[in-house]
């Protein structure tokens, strides 16, 4: 499957097939069986918002096609950015259609060919898109069985399918292949059904491990990302960026830039750019533009932001509540009051935001590194005024997203420049732009008041969340009196965040799980109970209990009170429909404050696991990536000016950090598949904080836990 899959992708994305009109769809793809869904049907499952549905095409979109050679093509608006659905979705498809895995091909993220999709995030591809894709597959299988029944002259019930071959069970010599059945036919089926609950236990491919099907072309350099596409007459663009988010352009002089050979300066209102066929020359030219700005900065920086949030006039919302906090407090023996701080984070995918736009006649085609091809298409419709059918977005391989490529500003910018210049425009954001224009993980404050009785049972939980999101803020523990209050931006009020914020892998769950699990640890210590036992004692959720027991087993956990000088921490949480529990061991250098993580174990219940190998890779990635927000990552800023805009000043995890990593996926073949790209990252901050406490007695309430902050906390021990 490996090569074929991606060759097929490349074929559909090459220059010659650009700007395909829908009527050309069949011309290019030829005959076979096509299964279509209405776009708005597909929307039910993505929680589509009304505003986005305006620009939806009114026709049906193909989910899959069985070609005349028997190959199955799955069309999905989802994109591949390293999470591995290019491997796992074909597994599901192959099983449903009873074809060999290598016969399944993927066409992804092309708005002219694929069904509408909100975007690739929230670990939704497998758990939500997957079932719909499989209904299409089941329908196609039914169509094929119908034709075979007529052709072989036996009832459908008497037929059996294996590896794309339909056989009469009473006469095994009588058989016909999918390829033979589809030859010379063009059958279109339009569906309006919802997927039934499937029996997940009967599959051949699902549940087995497969290496990344795109690995070979990714190790040879053949795999095409947006920046790798070259069109005749293509120019590189650089855009003039203001120095801070509060800056406004007062005057600009670009005469020096125009003197750089081959350079053209383009301006449309505030959009000022240089274009040049030569990449280096575009870089030189942009640096020659002299601009003056006025500054209107929000008076806040990375140190004062938390106080700023607590003082702000916020919109206050009780998200959930049970029992009565005051009665809980009265029956508590010990009461705890903590405040946790979490900074802004950058996504820093190694591929920066990139787009290539070409206007041909009245059709705009944009290739872009985005998690939301249809979102970008709608953005171009909105901002450039193109009719929806005149915009095509194609997403080649994406070099990492993590939530940072949900917006596709670079695609809109490239489209505007292509329209202004009449040339194909390649826009590759610099690393500096990437750090400046990012939609950062939002900083936030969590204040928790809680209490336990003499036996160590939690009696109340008063959880207050400021300016972070609520994902992962569930109490999880069995607490009779609890309340979760969310303080957020007041509509029409002055902005609290000095720049754009957005989703960052398991959005905000890292913040909430950090606060909750540290608070739990604080209570366990005060109760004089082993932190594992304390959690088990206060949990009723069977899935979390099972994860905790599995991770303790894998880790070889021996009970002990914390701090015990061992450097062992525990934390748990839920995300994207999955459950996780972690244990970690750290060493803390008390002279320097440096934390070295020795090992981390994680147990995950994600329902049916489609591709265990792929899921383990995601868990390992989550764990290692999570060490970044835990130990070093933090956006430094003064007003709207981002101060650390490079990998020298914003430190992400490196090889020397690598701990021993152990993963366990709980066997849940009878349960629907859940998300796997994010859950294992949520508890890393907490598990390391709790391990540092166990090692030293120092409690940290602020991420990241830099050496300076660890030393500061050690002083208080």
């Amino acid at each position: 499957m490996k090569k074929e899959t991606t060759n097929n992708l490349a074929e559909l994305r090459t220059d010659k097939n650009h700007g395909m009109e829908r009527r050309d769809f069949f011309k290019i793809l030829g005959g076979g069986i096509f299964i279509f869904f209405r776009p708005w049907n597909a929307l039910d499952l993505t929680g589509q918002q009304a505003r986005q549905s305006k620009s939806l095409p009114k026709d049906y979109n193909a989910f899959l096609r069985i070609a005349e050679d028997g190959t199955v093509t799955c069309f999905t608006g989802k994109i591949e950015m390293g999470q591995g659905i290019i491997t796992s979705l074909p597994q599901m498809m192959a099983d449903e259609l009873n074809v060999p895995l290598e016969k399944v091909k993927m066409v992804m993220g092309d708005t002219d060919l694929c069904p509408y999709d909100q975007g690739t995030w929230g670990s939704l591809s497998t758990r939500v898109f997957g079932p719909y894709m499989r209904v299409a597959a089941a329908e196609a299988r039914g169509v094929l069985l119908g034709i075979a029944s007529a052709q072989l002259g036996v009832p459908v019930a008497q037929l059996d399918v294996k590896d794309g071959m339909i056989t009469d069970t009473k006469n095994p010599k009588s058989s016909v292949s999918y390829a033979q059945l589809t030859k010379g036919k063009r059958i279109e089926k339009f569906l309006d059904v919802k997927p039934p609950v499937e029996d997940y236990t009967k599959f051949n491919y699902v549940g087995k491990s497969y290496n990344h099907s795109d690995a070979i072309i990714k190790v040879t350099g053949e795999a095409k990302y947006t920046g790798d596409i070259k069109l005749p007459g293509m120019v590189f663009a650089r855009i003039l960026r203001r120095p801070s988010h509060g800056a406004k352009l007062k005057s600009v002089d670009y005469s020096a830039a125009e003197k750089i050979a081959g350079t053209k300066v383009v301006r449309d209102g505030d959009l000022i750019a240089v274009i040049n066929e030569n990449h280096d020359r575009a870089d030189e030219a942009i640096a020659k533009i002299k601009a003056e700005y006025s500054f209107d900065e929000i008076p806040v920086n990375d140190k004062t932001i938390f106080e700023w949030m607590l003082k702000a006039d916020s919109s206050v919302n009780v998200v959930r509540s049970n029992g009565d906090i005051e009665s809980g407090r009265q029956v508590s023996d010990k009461v705890f009051d903590s405040e946790f701080h979490d900074p802004y984070l950058a996504h820093t995918a190694i591929e920066t935001h990139t787009a290539l736009a070409r206007l041909e006649g009245d059709k705009m085609t944009v290739w872009a590194s985005t998690q939301s091809p249809f979102g970008l298409r709608d953005g171009i419709v909105r901002e450039l005024g193109f009719p929806v059918e005149k915009v095509r977005v194609i997403v080649p391989f994406v070099g990492g997203g993590f939530g940072g490529k949900g917006e596709a500003q670079q695609g809109i910018e490239a489209a505007k420049l292509a329209k202004l210049t009449g040339k194909p425009v390649m826009l590759v954001w610099t690393r500096n732009e990437e750090f400046f224009l990012d939609t950062f993980h939002p900083a936030g404050v969590v204040k928790i008041k809680s209490g336990i009785d003499k036996s160590g049972l939690i009696k109340f939980w008063d959880y207050n969340l400021y300016y972070s999101g609520t994902r992962g803020s569930d109490t999880l523990y069995d607490v009779p009196n609890s309340k979760t209050t969310h303080y957020s931006q007041k509509s029409g009020g002055a902005p609290i965040h000095p720049f754009g914020t957005g989703a960052w892998r398991a959005p905000n769950n890292n913040t909430n799980t950090f606060a909750r699990e540290v608070q739990i640890d604080i209570m366990a210590t005060a109760a004089g109970i082993d932190p594992l036992e304390f959690r088990l004692k206060n949990l009723k959720d069977e899935k979390l209990i099972a994860c905790l027991k599995a991770v303790a087993d894998k880790f070889g956990y021996k009970p002990g009170k914390s701090p015990g000088g061992r450097g062992i921490g525990i934390a748990l949480g839920t995300d994207a429909g999955s459950w996780v529990a972690h244990m970690a061991e750290v060493k803390v250098d008390k002279n320097t404050g440096k934390v070295q993580v020795i090992r981390i174990a994680c147990a995950q219940d994600m329902g049916l696991c489609v591709n265990p190998e792929g899921a383990i890779i995601q868990m390992e990635g989550c764990i290692m990536m999570g060490l970044g927000y835990t130990l070093t990552e933090e956006v430094l800023f003064e007003g709207g000016n981002i101060q650390n805009r490079g990998f020298d000043s914003y430190t992400i995890p490196r090889f020397s950090w690598l701990p021993k990593i152990d993963t366990v996926i709980l066997e849940r073949k009878d349960k629907p598949p859940q998300g796997g790209g994010e859950p294992a990252i949520i508890a890393i901050g907490a598990v390391i904080a709790n391990a540092i406490f166990d090692a030293t007695g120092a409690r940290l309430f602020r991420l990241p836990m830099t050496p300076a902050r660890v030393l500061e906390a050690l002083k208080k021990v």
Binding site: N211, I350, I617
Partner: protein
């Protein structure tokens, strides 16, 4: 000012009539169409643009094409021979040592350079040698395992 720069590129004698101050990375990508070498930061901090120059892993975003005159440049496209993957490439596939794959060419070139200098590195030496190549998907564990596997296979003098 254009000059004719001659060098060895992926095993073949090559020349380009080009301004010698042009960044090697962009010349490889735009002039030679070798887009496997990636732009990650343009500042030498991430390693996505790593190529081998006379068997040394270097960051092509920090060099001019004039710097490689007379030298032997190998990019990710030049690593496989006769359609057969290099042992480091093979090990990356075997260990699934990648996710989005964007840092992968740089990782592989850097690891290849490391093994050319030190055919049997310890885990510590692998970590040290790979330290300044960044992977945001965090495939580090499998990359280290892949380098170990490649080291074993290459020890045979391949």
């Amino acid at each position: 000012m254009e000059e004719t720069i001659k060098f060895q590129l992926n095993g073949k004698k090559t020349e380009a009539t080009i301004d010698p101050t042009q960044t090697l990375l962009w010349v490889l990508r735009n002039h030679f169409g070798l887009t496997g070498t990636k732009f990650g930061c343009g500042m030498g901090f991430c390693g996505a643009c790593t190529v081998l120059i006379d068997n040394e892993p270097v960051r092509s975003c920090q060099l001019s094409v004039g710097d490689v005159a007379g030298k032997n440049v190998v990019t990710i496209e030049g690593l496989a021979t006769n359609g057969k993957l290099h042992p480091v490439q093979k090990a990356f596939v075997g260990h699934d040592a990648l996710q989005c794959g964007f840092c992968t060419p740089g990782m592989i070139m850097n690891a290849t350079g490391l093994l050319l200098k030190n055919p049997l590195p310890t885990t510590q030496e692998i970590n040290d040698g790979m330290e300044n190549n960044l992977c945001r998907c965090a495939a580090h564990l499998r990359i280290v395992e892949a380098v170990q596997t490649a080291s074993k296979e290459m020890k045979g003098g391949k």
